[in-house]
C-alpha cells in the first residue's frame, strides 16, 4: 500500500522548481508514476510530497521545429509510439518506445520519468544516444541543457540536482541518408540487452557510425572506440570486428552476472545485437551498394 503523502501541483516549471527547492529531500517529482508508484507501493520510497508536474503545459507536446524534435518530459511512451513526427524524424526512438513494457506501462509512463529514473534496463535512452540527444533540466537557478550522454551518470543516478526537474528532450534527426536500427531482447519484463546503431554508408562501407548499448552496464552509453574501428569497413568486416570486441565491451560495460544471465552471456548477446543493429542500419541507409 502506498503510504500517505501530500501532493502539490505547480502549473509552471519555475513553480515546480521552487517547490523542489522548498521541500528538498522530502519531495519527488511525479509524472506518470509508472516507476515511482511501484517503489512507493513496496515501501521502498516514502516521500512526504509528490510534486505533480502533469499540469504544467510546457511539459507536454511533441514538436518538430524544423531542426530538432522536442519532446516534453511528461509525454507518454504511447504518444511517442504513435506520433507521425517521431516516425518521420526519429524512428529509432519510435521503435524503442514501441517495445517498452506493455500497453498500460506505455499509457502511463513518460519519457522524462523513464530517463530521470535511470534504470539501465530501459529502451529509450539507448536509442536516443545515437541521435546525440540532449535534455533540458530546470531548477531555481534556471534551465540548463546538457547532452543525454552527460545526463546519465549511473544506475538510478543522473546529473539532476535535487531541486531540478527534466523538462524537455531534444532529438536531432539523423543526417539525411543515414540508416538506423534498434535491437533488444527481453528475458523477463524489461529489456535484458539492447543496442542501437546509426550509420552513414559510402559505397557499401561504413562512413560514419554511432553505436549505443544499454541494460548491461550501470547506464546506457556510446561505444566510441568501437565506432572509430568500424569506420570504412564493409558489413562482413564490421561484424568481425564487433565479434572480436568482447574484452572492450567488458571494460566499457562492467557486466555482472545475475538472474538474467551470466556476465559472459550478456556480453555475447550485446555483440550479437550490435552486429544485427549495424546490419539493419546499413540496409536502411540511402546508399544501396552495401546490400549483398
Amino acid at each position: 500500500m502506498v503510504s500517505p503523502f501530500r501532493v502539490v501541483t505547480p502549473t509552471t516549471v519555475p513553480e515546480a522548481a521552487a517547490e523542489m527547492e522548498r521541500l528538498g529531500d522530502a519531495a519527488r517529482i511525479y509524472a506518470g508514476g509508472a516507476e515511482l508508484l511501484l517503489l512507493m507501493r513496496n515501501g521502498l520510497l516514502e516521500p512526504d510530497y509528490l510534486v505533480n508536474i502533469k499540469q504544467v503545459p510546457s511539459l507536454h507536446g511533441i514538436n518538430w521545429d524544423g531542426h530538432v524534435l522536442r519532446v516534453g518530459a511528461a509525454v507518454t511512451h504511447r504518444q511517442l509510439e504513435r506520433d507521425p513526427q517521431v516516425h518521420a524524424h526519429a524512428p529509432t526512438l519510435g521503435e524503442a518506445e514501441h517495445h517498452i513494457g506493455n500497453i498500460r506501462v506505455r499509457t502511463q509512463g513518460t519519457l522524462g520519468g523513464n530517463l530521470a529514473f535511470a534504470d539501465p534496463h530501459a529502451d529509450p535512452g539507448t536509442a536516443l544516444l545515437v541521435h546525440d540527444a540532449s535534455v533540458t533540466v530546470e531548477g531555481p537557478r534556471g534551465p540548463r541543457q546538457l547532452l543525454l550522454d552527460d545526463f546519465f551518470v549511473s544506475t538510478y543516478e543522473t546529473a539532476l540536482e535535487p531541486d531540478e526537474l527534466l523538462t524537455e528532450v531534444q532529438v536531432p534527426p539523423l543526417p539525411f541518408g543515414w540508416g538506423w536500427a534498434y535491437e533488444r531482447i527481453e528475458r523477463f519484463y524489461r529489456p535484458t540487452v539492447n543496442a542501437a546503431a546509426a550509420i552513414a554508408a559510402n559505397d557499401g562501407r561504413i562512413a560514419e557510425v554511432r553505436l549505443a548499448v544499454g541494460c548491461v552496464g550501470p547506464r546506457a552509453l556510446r561505444l566510441r572506440e568501437l565506432e572509430e574501428k568500424l569506420q570504412g569497413l564493409n558489413l562482413a568486416d564490421a561484424k568481425r570486428v564487433i565479434g572480436e570486441s568482447s574484452e572492450y565491451l567488458v571494460e566499457q560495460l562492467e557486466p555482472v552476472g545475475d538472474l538474467l544471465g551470466g556476465a559472459d552471456y550478456k556480453i555475447h548477446v550485446t555483440g550479437v545485437l550490435l552486429a544485427r543493429a549495424v546490419e539493419q542500419a546499413l540496409a536502411r541507409t540511402g546508399d544501396r551498394d552495401d546490400r549483398q
Binding site: 508514476g33 507501493r41 506493455n102 500497453i103 498500460r104 499509457t107
Partner: protein
C-alpha cells in the same frame, strides 16, 4: 513535513468527479489511494481485480479515456474529470460485447481471474484495429497474463470478435 513518521493517517484528500461506465461518481479521496481501490471499494465494482500490484499481470486493467491503465498503480485523484470503463461497462445492458460472446464461445476464460483485464485489453485493441494478426495480438496483450493458459482461445476470440465488429461496420459501437 508530515506529522507522524508512521505514515498511517491520510494527510490530504482531493475532490474527484469522474464517470465510470457512463455513470457519474464524486467524492473526496485520499491522494495516496489508487484507482483500483476507488473502483472496488468506494464505487463497489469488484469485477476489476487485484493481482500482482506491479503492472505486470493486467488483472487490474481498466480504460481511462479509452486507454488501458494499471489501476493498481494509478493514483485515484488523477482520475478526476475522466471517463472510465471497467468490465461492468463493456456489455450494453444485457447485450454482451462481441469480445465477451467470443470469450464464452471459445472458453477463453477458465478460472476467470485475469478475464476482466483480458477483455478490457481486447476491447481497446479492437478499437484501434479490427483485424489484428496473431503477432499483433501477442504484442498488444503481452501485459495480460493468464496462468490457466487460455491464450489460444483468447487469440481466437479476439480475431472472431474483430470479424464481427467489421461486419457490423466498425468498432465504436460499444464499451
Amino acid at each position: 513535513m508530515i506529522g507522524s513518521e508512521l505514515r498511517l493517517q491520510t494527510v490530504q484528500t482531493a475532490p474527484v468527479s469522474l464517470m465510470v461506465n457512463g455513470q457519474p461518481w464524486s467524492g473526496d479521496v485520499p491522494v495516496e489511494e489508487v484507482l483500483l481501490d476507488l473502483i472496488r471499494s468506494r464505487i463497489g465494482l469488484t469485477g476489476t481485480k487485484r493481482g500482482c500490484e506491479s503492472e505486470v499481470c493486467g488483472a487490474c486493467e481498466v480504460l481511462v479515456d479509452g486507454a488501458p491503465v494499471s489501476s493498481c498503480n494509478f493514483l485515484a485523484f488523477e482520475a478526476n474529470g475522466r471517463e472510465h470503463t471497467t468490465i461492468e461497462g463493456v456489455a450494453d445492458g444485457d447485450q454482451l460485447h462481441p469480445v465477451q460472446e467470443a470469450f464464452i464461445r471459445n472458453v477463453a476464460a477458465q478460472c476467470g481471474y485475469c478475464t476482466s483485464g483480458q477483455i478490457m485489453s481486447a476491447v481497446a485493441l479492437l478499437r484501434e484495429n479490427t483485424s489484428p494478426t496473431y503477432e499483433e495480438i501477442a504484442q498488444w496483450m503481452v501485459g495480460n497474463i493468464c496462468r490457466c493458459g487460455c491464450y489460444p482461445a483468447i487469440a481466437r476470440s479476439i480475431m472472431e470478435a474483430g470479424e464481427e465488429l467489421r461486419a457490423k461496420g466498425g468498432a465504436n459501437g460499444q464499451g
